[in-house]
């Protein structure tokens, strides 16, 4: 461990990305994510890496995809309006299987919304924010330290699965300052860039899946002379207008994530041993929810908390298990109600599901969540 430092969530995210090997950043200023760009501008050249401020959010997404194709681990960061602009190329990254991390430090939307008050309104945008069928991995930290940890995980998953990964931060964590002790680089497991398993002469096919269904696509400039396209393609990487190949290509994109879902779906439980009720929370809101749970416990309510670190793929197994254990679930989120639909789907009527939503540009107070916990537990004070 390095010595303790006072650090902001956005800075910790940057440190995690650098520790995981990110050496290229392309971005455009937008609050509340700008500190990530500013920190990258200062730090990346110290590592021999490249920071480039692009002309817009679309170019920022394009430039990181180009850098990733040329062999650099690459990251961009933005907030709602900017993420909306990046969506087309997020789909390109999914289709062409280009590793990249997109940080979204959420603020109130839609549109310019309430700049730059906290929100968690981009849960569904993270999942579905591009056209067509595609899988998505999204992680959401609740602390400054976890901003570092999830940045490392996001980079690792993007490389391992060759897919875009969204680090779904919120303004609460992005601008939070806490004391943290960051691990040394040597303490981290870093997933290296995948390499071709055979040569062009041996019949290398850049989009032939390995055993884990992920292709070992060669970096540009390594003599493999590959073709990369956003068109549906076969193992050669060249477009094919064929129903069978189309179905197989889209199936594989989903399956490569689905077969690893248990490994990458991270959930933490608090006060759950004897719990009869549970709060489901994520990101900065989970901090307040945890305080509310402790206050409810002090009042004798047997309530715990399940915190989703991985938002996508959704933690179906954990929520199904929770529904079998508790009498009721309270979903707290800083939006009109997005994740609650997923919880209801997984619970499938096995227990009560209530929503504690807030979308007025302020964060939750513990009392607001506490009163909903009390209502869920049958009005016990």
């Amino acid at each position: 461990m390095s010595k303790a430092r006072l650090m902001q969530g956005n800075e910790a995210c940057t440190e995690g990305a650098l520790a995981a090997g990110v050496r290229f950043f392309g971005g455009y200023p937008i609050t509340p994510s700008t500190e990530i760009a500013e920190t990258m501008a200062k730090k990346l050249p110290q590592y021999g890496g490249t920071f480039i401020q692009m002309e817009d959010e679309i170019a920022s997404m394009g430039v990181v995809l180009g850098a990733s194709l040329a062999g650099k681990k690459a990251l961009t960061a933005s907030s709602g309006p900017g993420i909306s602009l990046k969506q087309e190329l997020i789909g390109y990254a999914a289709a062409a299987e280009i590793p990249v991390v997109i940080v979204n430090v959420q603020r109130v939307g839609p549109s310019t919304g309430q700049p730059t008050a906290p929100s968690q309104g981009d849960v569904m945008q993270a999942r579905w924010g591009t056209h067509g069928d595609h899988p998505m991995i999204a992680l959401s930290p609740w602390s400054v330290k976890e901003a570092f940890d999830t940045a490392v995980m996001a980079v690792n998953y993007s490389e391992r699965f060759r897919t875009p990964v969204i680090l779904l931060m919120d303004e609460i964590v992005g601008h939070l300052r806490e004391k943290v002790e960051l691990p040394d680089a040597a303490e981290l497991d870093i997933y290296p860039r995948r390499q071709p398993s055979c040569t062009r002469a041996e019949g290398y096919q850049p989009y032939a899946p390995a055993e884990d269904l992920v292709p070992n696509v060669a970096d540009f400039g390594t003599g493999n002379r590959i073709h990369v396209t956003g068109l549906i393609h076969d193992e050669t990487g060249f477009p094919v207008g064929n129903p069978k190949i189309t179905r197989e290509a889209i199936d594989r994109l989903h399956q490569k994530i689905a077969i690893a879902a248990d490994e990458i779906t991270h959930v933490e439980e608090y006060c759950m041993d004897d719990a009869e009720y549970a709060v489901v929370a994520f990101g900065g809101t989970a901090r307040t929810a945890y305080e509310a749970v402790l206050q409810a416990r002090a009042k004798g309510i047997k309530v715990g908390m399940v915190r989703l670190i991985t938002i996508w793929p959704f933690a179906d197994k954990a929520i199904k298990a929770l529904a079998a254990k508790v009498k009721g679930i309270l979903v707290t989120e800083l939006n009109y109600g997005q994740l609650v639909g997923e919880v209801e789907r997984a619970v499938a009527g096995k227990c009560d599901v209530k929503l504690c939503a807030k979308y007025d540009m302020t964060i939750f107070e513990p009392e607001e969540i506490l009163s909903d916990i009390e209502a869920l537990a049958g009005g016990k004070a």
Partner: protein, 274 residues
């Protein structure tokens, strides 16, 4: 028969999808001839294209190639070049791709003077989607979305590139094929943003709408209206009218390219050698 350029093409991806009489194949071959002339390493040369008729070229060319999204070739190319400056990065784009949906990327690529060679296949129309007006459709010419003639003024992409900071700007045509090849090769020599407008005939989507459906006649039009830069400069202004346009090296400047400029940043930050 001259067959020495076959090694630069993916034979199993041919024939190409362009219409009979299209000028894109001429421009594509001019690029590989320029690559041959300059002796660029086939394994260290990347072709980046956008979307549209022009941009299908990348699939036929045997290099590392990326067929990006509509308008986004220059940002991808910028990322590739900045991530690995030893690569030769060539962009193939079209008039709609480069000056409409990708217009902002184009001017900022020029401004940064990224060491790219950008060849715009200018067919004055959106060909792939069946003939809609582009920002380079001449005013008054017809398109499916300009049935009474284009209302908009057309971009002069070369003037735009020059004004935005490109350090090499040239124009030629599919008729002047050796001239075009030489201009592309010269662009590869420039360490900075090189822009070459290659005027290509589109008999199918542009020509048919504008009483120029014969590809040979379209090339004759190029022959008859193109004026070499040196002669153009001597023309009195009143003669620079009608369809006449200049070809050749239209602008050259010497300036530091973006990757070299960023190397100084890395030096300042103490990251050199890492």
């Amino acid at each position: 028969m001259e067959r020495s350029y076959e090694k630069y093409f993916r034979q199993n991806r041919l024939p190409h999808l362009w219409c009979p009489g299209c000028g894109n194949g001429i421009a594509m071959k001019a690029i590989v001839k320029a690559i041959e002339m300059k002796g660029l390493d086939q394994n260290k040369t990347v072709i980046v294209s956008g979307i549209g008729c022009s941009s299908r070229a990348s699939g036929y060319m045997d290099f590392d190639t990326v067929h990006t999204a509509h308008g986004r070739a220059i940002p991808f190319a910028t990322g590739i070049k900045m991530a690995n400056p030893e690569l030769n990065v060539i962009v193939i784009t079209g008039d709609g791709d480069c000056t409409a949906i990708g217009g902002n990327h184009f001017i900022h690529g020029c401004r940064r003077n990224v060491d790219l060679t950008v060849i715009l296949f200018d067919n004055n129309i959106y060909g792939m989607t069946g003939g809609q007006a582009s920002p380079m459709t001449p005013t008054g010419k017809k398109a499916t979305t300009a049935p009474y003639g284009a209302v908009d003024h057309a971009f002069d992409a070369c003037k735009l590139a020059e004004a935005a900071g490109a350090t090499y700007v040239a124009r030629s045509t599919a008729y002047h094929v050796q001239h075009l090849t030489d201009l592309i090769a010269k662009g590869m020599d420039n360490k900075g943003f090189s822009f070459i407008e290659a005027m290509v005939q589109c008999p199918t989507s542009f020509g048919r709408k504008n009483k120029m459906a014969d590809p040979a006649a379209m090339m004759m039009w190029m022959r008859d209206n193109a004026v070499m830069k040196a002669a153009w400069d001597k023309l009195p202004e009143e003669k620079k009218t009608g369809d006449k346009f200049p070809i050749g090296v239209l602008y050259e400047a010497s300036d530091i390219d973006y990757a070299t400029a960023y190397d100084h940043v890395i030096d300042l930050a103490g990251g050199a050698g890492k």
